[in-house]
């Protein structure tokens, strides 16, 4: 058994729309309010987007009597190629995660690769230390 934990979720999607339109849909409050963090059962009741590096966003969805806030801070903003922000849903978890969007223009439309990195627990932050080998060794005991 190899010990290779990876807390990264990646999704790639092609759009017919231009790279600028797809990029801007993340930062234009009016547009973002119609799709970002929306669900069929919830209603977006608040959208605040301060689209600059160091700026924050809050998008609140109402589900019944619950207001669910989605918050974050923009870390990189390079229109229309790259957008990186921290992301948390404080109601469910205080963990701050990181979302990176990489946009690539195609002859028609564009391709977006979204990478969402979760918080690495202490034991994953220590990849250079000895525990990785120890764990592999221990896990290997199972296979024999």
């Amino acid at each position: 058994m190899t010990f290779d934990p990876d807390r990264t979720a990646r999704v790639t999607r092609r759009f017919d729309a231009s790279i600028e339109r797809v990029f801007d849909a993340w930062l234009d409050p009016q547009k973002a309010g119609t799709w970002l963090f929306a669900t069929p059962t919830g209603q977006i009741v608040r959208v605040e987007i301060d689209a600059r590096v160091g700026g924050s966003f809050v998008i609140t969805r109402r589900e019944g009597n619950d207001d669910i806030e989605h918050v974050g801070t923009y870390l990189e903003l390079d229109r229309p190629r790259r957008l990186v922000f921290t992301f948390a849903v404080p109601k469910f978890s205080t963990e701050a995660t990181r979302v990176s969007l990489d946009f690539k223009a195609l002859s028609k439309g564009c391709e977006l690769t979204l990478t969402h990195e979760g918080v690495l627990p202490e034991w994953l932050d220590r990849t250079t230390e000895g525990w990785g080998g120890i764990l592999s060794s221990l896990a290997g005991v199972l296979d024999h």
Partner: protein, 106 residues
């Protein structure tokens, strides 16, 4: 049932002192990746894969979440295109006098 091994045996292939190995094992115990029990003087440890499985579940859940989000984004853009096609003189059509800045609303 997970197989157990002695800490001393586990430490053998590593160029580390037993206390150093023990320290790493404590990190793994806190992360619930390793269970340790003591039988007389012997410390027996076993591997618990559950936290790794939780990470796999998080990745799956997160991918499904963003896939749905990107579906919604694609729907919005397609709806905009359909609306623009119905009203060809609206802002989404190319403007002959200056480069299009459509969507740049900031």
């Amino acid at each position: 049932m997970r197989r157990e091994t002695r800490v001393t045996e586990l430490a053998e292939p590593f160029a580390m002192s037993l206390p150093a190995v023990s320290k790493h094992i404590r990190v793994l115990e806190r992360a619930r990746l390793v269970r340790r029990r003591r039988v007389w003087r012997e410390h027996l440890v076993s591997f618990n894969p559950a936290p790794l499985e939780e990470i796999g579940a998080w990745v799956e859940k997160t991918r499904a979440f963003w896939s749905a989000q990107l579906d919604a984004l694609d729907d919005l853009l397609k709806a905009e295109d359909a609306a623009a096609a119905r009203k060809p003189d609206r802002k989404r059509s190319p403007q002959p006098t200056r480069p299009s800045k459509r969507g740049a609303s900031r």
